[in-house]
């Protein structure tokens, strides 16, 4: 029990340190936190068409952007920064101290949570103020929003840690990770209306969690009637929870088994 408390205490201390380091790197602040907001402005301004009665593309896009924000702060951010920490000696130094691995992961998870809250708040704010995003008024929709964010960001975090073994070096990491994220965004109905994509693309995207997250976010932010425009004719929230949970569990197992402290 004392050990657990200590692990948690160090994890919280680590998250403070991680956040401090994050905020001091201007590129990472802009790239991770503000890039989705910038994209929101560009797409929201250019594509003003109405895609269904009472639904503009910019509303559709904001819902997708909130979902992909979770991918940015979790998966993308971790899969890029962990290889960098592997290269600069951070991980090796930590490995040589009595700090437990769990504390390191707790620190990362708390950092992601914090970034995600800031980013989601930014997107909700600009989305509702500038692009007529309707914030839900029903409690049940906010409940759906909450579990989607919690489950989605947990999944995104463990997949980021798991994927951090793939880039061969810290410098090359963003070249490996960013295209994957961007392609998934295109395929998952963030930049285009999902049902207008070719069938094979839709089926490919359905394997990954982002498609389900974006659809879930649409269920929160678009009118009830829009559900009939979705592939299955409804929001498929049960299936969404299932797919994301499976990825979460697989990602967690893989992250723990494959995590590497140094390059060799």
């Amino acid at each position: 029990m004392k050990f657990l408390g200590e692990t948690l205490r160090i994890g919280i201390l680590r998250s403070g340190l991680e956040l401090k380091q994050f905020l001091r790197q201007r590129e990472s602040v802009v790239f991770t936190l503000f890039f989705p907001v910038i994209l929101l402005f560009i797409f929201g301004t250019v594509f003003k068409d109405t895609i269904a009665p009472g639904v503009t593309f910019s509303q559709y896009f904001v819902a997708g952007m909130i979902a992909s924000g979770l991918v940015n702060t979790g998966f993308q951010q971790l899969a890029i920064t962990i290889p960098m920490e592997r290269d600069d000696g951070t991980l090796k130094r930590l490995r040589g101290t009595p700090m437990s691995v769990s504390s390191y992961f707790i620190g990362k998870a708390l950092l992601v949570t914090f970034l995600m809250i800031i980013q989601t708040a930014l997107l909700l704010f600009f989305g509702s103020v500038v692009f007529d995003l309707n914030l839900p008024t029903q409690a049940s929709l906010w409940w759906n929003f909450t579990w989607l964010v919690v489950l989605g960001s947990a999944c995104s975090t463990v997949l980021g840690i798991a994927f951090s073994v793939v880039p061969k070096s810290g410098r090359g990491a963003s070249a490996v990770v960013s295209p994957i994220v961007i392609i998934l965004q295109f395929f998952s109905g963030v930049f285009f209306v999902f049902t207008s994509l070719p069938n094979w693309m839709q089926q490919f995207a359905a394997i990954f969690p982002l498609k389900w997250l974006t659809q879930g976010m649409r269920s929160v932010f678009l009118p009830e009637e829009f559900a009939t425009q979705e592939v299955a004719g409804n929001w498929e929230l049960g299936k969404t929870a299932l797919v994301i949970s499976v990825w979460l569990v697989l990602g967690l197992i893989f992250a723990i088994k494959s995590f590497k402290w140094s390059r060799e």
Partner: protein
Amino acid sequence: MSITHAIEVIGLVKKYGSKTAVDGIDLKVETGEIFALLGPNGAGKTTTVEILEGYRKASGGQVRVLGFDPATKGSAGQRWRNRIGIVLQSTTDAADLSVIETISHYANYYENPRDVEQVIDEVGLREKINAKARELSGGQRRRLDVALGIIGSPEILFLDEPTTGFDPEARRSFWELIRTLKAEGKTILLTTHYLDEAQELADRVGVINNGKIIEIGTPQTLGGRNTALAKVSWLENGKQQVIETKDPTTEVIRLNQRFNGEIPELEVARPNLEEIYLKMIGELK
């Protein structure tokens, strides 16, 4: 009376595929001793030290550090890490954190951390206390690494090539710091490819090459330096004459009588540590 060994290594072997990096090393380091592992790049120094630090698994042999197997996993291994301090080869981590932020944070990891302010004074970073790690010079950065190595009040400190890339002045003041730590009773295992560093700091030196320890001795006696033959050379009949002798003075007097005065191009030389070392590692025939 039994001597307590801080480090005990018997028949250590490390293989990477078919390549043998460490080939049967035996080593004992006593408590309170500064022991230097000296050898050229690729000799197996870092591999050996990283096995002792628990970073790598040995392929064979026995390793005990403070009576403990460094390869032990889980919470026992974590507790053991409370008692050791590691200064890795050059690092660039924590670049955006200040000296005090980094050291204070690492102090949290240990059961009995030392006083942060005192450690900062000891490593001589008082004036850089609020500087970011990226703004430090090479020597200052290394001092920060040492501060992180000793913040947990370790019994053993591992230093892997601590002064590589230093200018002579920075190196001298770094050596002073290491001597201070020894005076506090710490056991220090140091790897270096600088001969003068081993000579200045170490109580004993182990010369390592091709994964094997060639010799262990004090810097004064290494390679039989104290009993090595002196070379006396001179010019006679238009040719350079050389003899090796353990009594060079007698030899010079004999020559002096033979030449009835000045000996042409007389030279008397004893091998210095560098020559002995280069001979040992096979660079000098």
